[in-house]
Amino acid sequence: MASVLFEIPGMHSGRLFGLFLEVLIVVLALYYMTREKPPYIRRVAALDAIEEAIGRSTEMGKPVFFSYGIASRGFDLRTLIGISLLSHVARVCARNETQLIVPTGGSEGSYIVRPTVEETVKTAYTLEGKPELFDPDNIPFFSGQQYAYVGGYIGAMQRNPPGAVIACSHASEHMNIAETANAMGALTIMAPSSTGKTAVLATASDYLIFPEEAGAGAAYLSKEPSELASIRVQDILKWMAIALMIIGVIAATSGSDLINRLVST
């Protein structure tokens, strides 16, 4: 760690730039959340695959399995992205009158998340004008234990072969789900939540949604200002990171550690 550029009395040393970034993110997020005009957002290819997968299941008369992960940390970023995608998938399924099965459980955090998921699916069916098609038995709770949940999930797929399986934000069980779905002949769309899982699922799924794409996809589909703002602010911060790195590297190579000291301040 480089030494700090300066210190402010009453503040802990080395935390100023962090606080500055936090405040900047908050201000930018609030600005984009309240702005009338939504930011430009490019089409995410994997989203087309979701529609295609549901369409294929409808033609085959088979159900669609969708899971949002095991929510091991309750309502964290990945789970919320999963639920956001779920509300879209549920609407398309309701429109096509395709059976949608949403396995829940898998962790202690999942107990708190489950009721929200049920509400989300119910709302989607109501918004499509088909509340009578909503069946709570299609949102089974398998277990609060990760691998017991996987056992239930896999068993359900084996008994009721799906046309498509869309699984987001899972932990290590992602591979078990993908492999079983492949074995059952389903079209698999996997949205892993980390680098390691992305690498292994690249070999085991028909369509792969990168961790960041899932977030952008959720925002794109929901058109919800706060989710769109999230994507916009991420891009701005990435631009900022690139700028800091390029300037910093040029400075460091020419003998100045100004940028390193600035960000360490």
Binding site: Y147, I154, T195, A202, A252
Partner: protein, 235 residues
């Protein structure tokens, strides 16, 4: 002389492990369900007893030692139990809200350092150090990181140099994922090798392992061929 305890653990442990492995046969069967339901029951029991122990040690012991403010934690914790009732579930909003707010603050106050600033710091380096290997590493990280970041832009139109950079980023991303795949395989294999080692050491366990393997495999095949596998599994 092998103690009965040790022997029974080795025999039952190998048997139930093989029951779990039987899922690799490709079909659900009662032996697998036996292993799975045993795991759900015992593991949930373990988690519960550990949670009680934690509440006792970090909470009750503290209150008994005079740190009375911790009793707020116990009261709020008891309030979360109202989630079990449809009528009074709203009461649980307060403790859950407080708990989420603390987690959020803990994460927000540190993640900017551990997942942003420190990584910018680590990238901002002199690209011409004396050590040639270090120079190669630094150049590679710098030149691979920026295209990969541009690949993940969503609110900027991909035109001109940006689209070239994003394309390069995509190739680098797949190359990197290859490396990550290999490391992931190493991890899972390490677990498997380590586990099989625990079933073969000390050597008196070897016959137990081999016989349970044969028994479980035979049982699964027989159940499948006799169409009995489906009868005893939960529907």
């Amino acid at each position: 002389m092998i103690e009965f305890m040790e022997l029974s653990i080795a025999v039952f442990g190998a048997f139930i492990a093989m029951c779990m492995f039987s899922t690799l046969y490709g079909k659900s069967n009662p032996l697998y369900v036996f292993a799975e339901e045993s795991y759900v029951g015992f593991a949930t029991g373990l988690v519960v007893i550990m949670a009680i122990m934690y509440i006792y040690r970090a909470g009750i012991q503290g209150i008994l030692a005079g740190d009375w403010i911790l009793s707020v934690g116990i009261i709020l914790g008891l309030m979360t139990l109202t989630r079990l009732s449809r009528e009074y579930a709203y009461i649980s909003r307060l403790p859950i809200g407080i708990s989420v707010a603390v987690q959020l603050a803990l994460s927000m106050r540190t993640i900017i350092f551990s997942r942003f600033i420190r990584h910018i710091n680590a990238t901002v380096m002199n690209l011409f150090p004396a050590d040639s290997q270090l120079m190669l590493y630094r150049w590679t990280i710098f030149l691979s990181l920026i295209p990969m970041l541009t690949f993940f832009f969503y609110t900027t139109e991909m035109k001109g140099p940006l689209s070239w950079s994003a394309k390069a980023g995509e190739y680098i991303l797949y190359l990197s994922l290859g490396v990550v795949f290999a490391q992931t395989y190493m991890g899972r294999l390490g677990m498997f090798v380590g586990f099989m080692q625990s079933l073969t050491l000390p050597p008196w366990k070897i016959p137990i392992l081999i016989s349970t393997m044969i028994i479980v495999l035979a049982a699964v095949v027989i159940l499948d061929k006799a169409n009995l596998a489906d009868r005893w599994i939960p529907g």
